[in-house]
């Protein structure tokens, strides 16, 4: 019986070798991926240990808006957000099992695990210092961010709204605020039950959660602000000039539908039912742009929209993409079947949808001689000793319009602010170019979204802004008594333009 026993001994040896090989694979070769928070965010051992390690700072204008400070408890370091909710939607939060925003997308830099920081980490190891994380320097402008945060905050907690500011020449994001905000410090609490409760109170699964960054996550009908794209397509076609007379009737009668397209005030836009393109933009004439859009054709419109960033297959802005934040793609629909649908698309309705960031890019592209720059939020990565280990440069996204068309559009937008519907964006001594929008939501009973996109100064743009106020009914109810007709105050100029002006002033006047 000894031969089978010897065979068995070999078989058992094989079994044990298989166990050892498997354990080695698991604990050596696969361990890195299993303990990487980006690949396995649910690995609570790693997220808990991350508390015990100092994390790099997130810096805006040299000031840390997120930093790690000694906590004195068993986790050693507490994540501190000195500016509270002001930067919350950008910076995100870092708690046990809770991570979002830049804290998530820049995690490898902040922990020091990124390959760019390898030499520094090695240095820490050799000099026996605790390994320090890298610092993430943002493109944000503290003044612009503060202005946007304060202006949006005045709308109150019940009003969803967002503001985005871009430096047109580079694509640097100067401000990004989503309202209502949240307090990241509550989520970073070392009292994990409290942090979890605070997180649950934000209803993370709800579409309207404060955790959702309206500026990049909500694609909404852009309404009349989209007329900039239609105008760009028209001017680029060569068939139109700003003073070209176009259809300015009271109503555009589509034979294929019962829903005729009319102007806001129900009046014709000019004498003899004709209006110049520039005047049509000033007063936001729906009939004029719908008819122009139909004449230009859906292909030209779509191509123009796509040059500004609509329908982008791979997102041009990924700085905030992580497991929680998903950037929405702005859409100009393909294969519009009905003429009426094309008409409505031309004025930013039907299935057209844009994020506030997208509309800011439209304004920035016009401001930058037609060149649309890729927006970016992270400017530099610095080591703990503040050496720059990686920096991000401006990058051209596309030439959306020719410089001459951009000039024409700019003067038309200046006219909107000076002589037209965008009067609330005027800044004394500074020429402002802008466009209002009051977009139908497509939801019955819901008041329209108020939009404003603009840039300033018009001759040498430093900042382009897009603002959207979603819950305009709630916004209108604030600050108006029983004797004030609040409904009348819902428009891009009334609600969004003052916010845009505040942000532009913060940049231009500094």
């Amino acid at each position: 019986m000894n031969r089978p026993i010897r065979n068995l001994a070999v078989a058992c040896l094989v079994l044990f070798l298989a166990l050892i090989a498997n354990a080695s694979y698991l604990q050596f070769f696969e361990a890195d991926s299993l303990t990487s928070l980006s690949e396995n965010p649910r690995n609570s051992r790693v997220s808990e240990a991350a508390f015990a390690a100092p994390r790099g700072d997130i810096l805006v204008n040299g000031k840390a808006i997120a930093s790690s400070e000694p906590s004195g408890d068993r986790y050693e370091f507490q994540r501190v957000y000195k500016s509270g909710p002001e930067y919350a939607n950008v910076v995100g939060f870092f708690g046990r099992g809770l991570i979002g925003g830049l804290e998530a997308s820049q995690n490898d830099y902040l922990t020091g695990e990124a390959p760019e920081l390898f030499v520094n980490r090695l240095g820490d190891l050799l000099t026996n210092k605790p390994p320090a994380g890298g610092n993430v320097v943002l493109t944000l402008n503290a003044k612009a961010q503060k202005a946007a945060y304060q202006a949006l905050g005045e709308l109150g907690k019940n009003v969803r709204a967002a503001a985005v500011a871009i430096e047109p020449k580079t694509g640097k994001i100067l401000a990004m605020v989503s309202n209502p905000g949240f307090n990241p410090a509550a989520l970073a609490s070392h009292d994990f039950a409290k942090a979890r409760a605070a997180y649950d109170r934000l209803k993370p699964d709800s579409r309207t959660s404060p955790l959702n960054n309206v500026a990049i996550e909500e694609a909404l009908p852009p309404g009349s602000t989209f007329k900039l794209v239609t105008a760009a397509a028209a001017l680029s076609s060569g068939d139109y000039q700003p003073d070209t007379l176009v259809d300015g009737s009271r109503i555009l009668d589509f034979r294929d539908t019962t829903s005729d397209l009319g102007n806001h005030n129900g009046q014709a836009c000019g004498p003899n039912n004709k209006v110049t393109l520039i005047r049509a933009l000033e007063i936001s004439c729906n009939v004029a742009f719908a008819s122009v859009g139909i004449k230009v054709g859906q292909d030209a419109l779509r191509q123009q929209a796509e040059k500004f960033g609509f329908n982008a297959a791979d997102p041009y802005f990924t700085d905030l993409d992580d497991s929680l934040t998903k950037q929405s793609t702005s859409v100009f629909p393909s294969d519009i079947a009905a003429v009426s649908s094309l008409g409505y698309s031309s004025i930013g309705q039907f299935s057209v949808a844009a994020t506030p960031l997208q509309m800011a890019m439209v304004a920035a592209g016009i401001a930058n001689d037609g060149k649309v720059m890729k927006p970016y939020l992270v400017n530099e990565i610095r080591s703990a000793d503040l050496d720059v280990v990686k920096s991000f440069d401006k990058e051209l996204y596309s030439q959306a319009v020719s410089p001459s068309v951009a000039d024409q559009l700019t003067s038309m937008m200046v006219s909107v602010v000076d002589n037209g519907t965008g009067s609330n964006a005027q800044i004394p001594g500074v020429q402002v170019a802008g466009k209002t929008g009051t977009a139908q939501t497509g939801v019955s009973g819901q008041k329209p979204y108020a939009w404003f996109v603009s840039f300033a100064p018009a001759d040498d743009p430093e900042v382009a802004v897009a603002v959207v106020v979603m819950d305009t009914a709630a916004a209108a109810r604030r600050g108006c008594g029983a004797d004030v007709d609040c409904e009348g105050g819902i428009s891009g100029n009334e609600m969004a333009a003052p916010i845009a002006r505040a942000v532009m002033e913060a940049v231009v006047n500094q």
């Binding site: 079994l15 166990l19 050596f28 240990a49």
Partner: protein
């Protein structure tokens, strides 16, 4: 050589004087290894205290004294009652058991941080260990010759079947975590399957010693493999049905696999015919497929095995175990410095990932090697054992350890689908610990018989192992 077996060693037809290796007692070596084992167990216990509370546990002396006393009692018993027994088995078991208690204590501390009222498992584990060692001593004292067990072949088989059926009885049987393998008698609860394991080995060995010739005889030769005769398939079919019954009625995939594998291996050893492995393997494949089709939890286990991360809310146990082991890396976080308590049942079925987390790959490989060494010593005992009954028991017990360790460790490390079995000597759980101590006692008894020189010379005052004395070793008195 057992009196019922054909005379003379099979592979050595030479009559008369043979040069045979004479084993030494090696009790001193055993004592030395035991001191190392105690150092491992007590060192682990002390570093758990240092890691979790910052100081050596307050009851270190009580615990240390207790553990040392138990191990020394076992050692002294061996000295007096099984002086020629294998010197490595007890140290292996002592190290494993000490590590197990330390880890259970470590997880007790973590559990009690969350809820101070939960029962400390380490205390009861130590009590069970005490009972295990007492039974270990009892076996060595009372059972002077393992061949006496051959008389209990059918009693053991009957007892095993009764024990396996007990959990199915209403009233005392209890369903825990989906498997119906527990019985409750008043405040006591245990898994009769652990005792049945031992009884089955004895029953199989007794049966196979009697019938091995007929099972090994005629058969058909298909593709270089001798397949057994159809009429001889009876016992294997019976065992197959029992295993299937355990799977279906008790939802216990692990035990089912263990019992059938153990029987198959013993059949192969007894008959020396690989054909049985082919038949048994085929039957196992059919049974496993049947189980996969009919038992929902088997399909679930397979799914969780293939893609645990695709079921993040359901396969939390295996995922947490993998996270823990990865977190441990090569050298581990250190005892008391990881978070093994995050994994459900980190003190029983998933105790190995707990070691993986706190002692790292190094610790895991060391533990696996201890088991490999244990199995190797058991199989070596089988090789040198002079009687077939002892050979079969030692093989069976060794293979049981190998299979059990492979199934549970492979399961928790995602090598094979997860099945619930205890990790011998490490896992919290009384029945398993006690049964395993008895198994080790039996192995030591067999190895004592196997290594002991024939009785007329073992009594001789001359303890020099001279070759001249061996000249008469072929004389068989029993």
């Amino acid at each position: 050589m057992a009196n019922r077996s054909p005379a003379a060693p099979k592979r050595d037809p030479r009559p008369g004087p043979v040069m045979e290796f004479v084993h030494r007692q090696r009790r001193g070596a055993e004592l030395f290894l035991l001191i190392l084992s105690l150092a491992v167990g007590l060192g682990a216990y002390a570093s758990v205290g240092l890691g979790t509370e910052g100081h050596i546990p307050t009851n270190m002396y009580v615990y240390g004294g207790w553990l040392t006393a138990l191990i020394l009692a076992a050692h002294v018993t061996i000295r007096y009652r099984a002086a020629y027994a294998d010197p490595i088995l007890l140290p292996i078991v002592a190290a494993l058991n000490g590590l197990g208690v330390a880890m259970i204590h470590r997880i007790d501390i973590a559990r009690q941080i969350n809820n101070p009222d939960v029962r400390a498992f380490a205390t009861s584990q130590l009590i069970w260990m005490t009972l295990g060692v007492l039974l270990f001593i009892a076996v060595l004292v009372l059972l002077r010759d393992h061949r006496r067990l051959q008389a209990f072949t059918y009693t053991a088989g009957f007892g095993a079947v009764v024990l396996l059926l007990l959990p199915l009885l209403p009233g005392i049987g209890k369903n825990i975590n989906g498997a119906r393998i527990w019985i409750h008698l008043g405040p006591l609860s245990f898994q009769p399957g652990e005792i049945a394991k031992l009884l089955l080995v004895v029953a199989f060995a007794g049966y196979l010693v009697l019938y091995r010739d007929s099972l090994a005889l005629a058969g058909r030769r298909v593709l270089f493999i001798d397949l057994p005769r159809g009429r001889d398939l009876g016992p294997i079919l019976a065992m197959w049905l029992i295993s299937l019954g355990i799977l279906v009625f008790q939802n216990d995939l692990g035990s089912s696999l263990l019992f059938f594998g153990m029987f198959l291996v013993m059949l192969y050893v007894a008959t020396e015919r690989p054909g049985w492995l082919v038949v048994g393997g085929a039957l196992f494949a059919v049974g496993a497929y049947f189980g996969y089709l009919t038992a929902g939890h088997v399909q679930q286990r397979v799914e969780y095995w293939l893609d645990p991360f695709g079921h993040p809310d359901d396969a939390t146990q295996i995922i947490n175990g993998l996270y823990g082991m990865a977190w441990g890396g090569l050298t581990g976080r250190g005892l008391g410095l990881g978070s093994p308590e995050k994994t459900p049942y980190s003190y029983s079925d998933f105790i190995l990932p707990s070691f993986g987390e706190e002692l790292g790959l190094t610790g895991v490989v060391a533990i696996i090697l201890l088991y490999a060494l244990l199995v190797e010593r058991a199989l070596r005992t089988a090789l040198i054992c002079r009687d077939n009954f002892g050979k079969l028991i030692a093989t069976g017990l060794g293979v049981v350890f190998a299979l059990q360790v492979f199934v549970v460790v492979g399961g928790v490390t995602k090598l094979i689908p997860l099945t619930g079995l205890t990790t011998p000597f490490l896992s919290q759980g009384g029945s398993s610990l006690v049964a395993n101590w008895v198994i080790i006692a039996l192995l030591l008894r067999i190895s004592d018989q196997a290594r002991r020189p024939p009785p007329e010379f073992s009594e001789a005052p001359d303890d020099l192992p001279g070759f001249a004395d061996d000249a008469t070793q072929v004389v068989k008195l029993r």
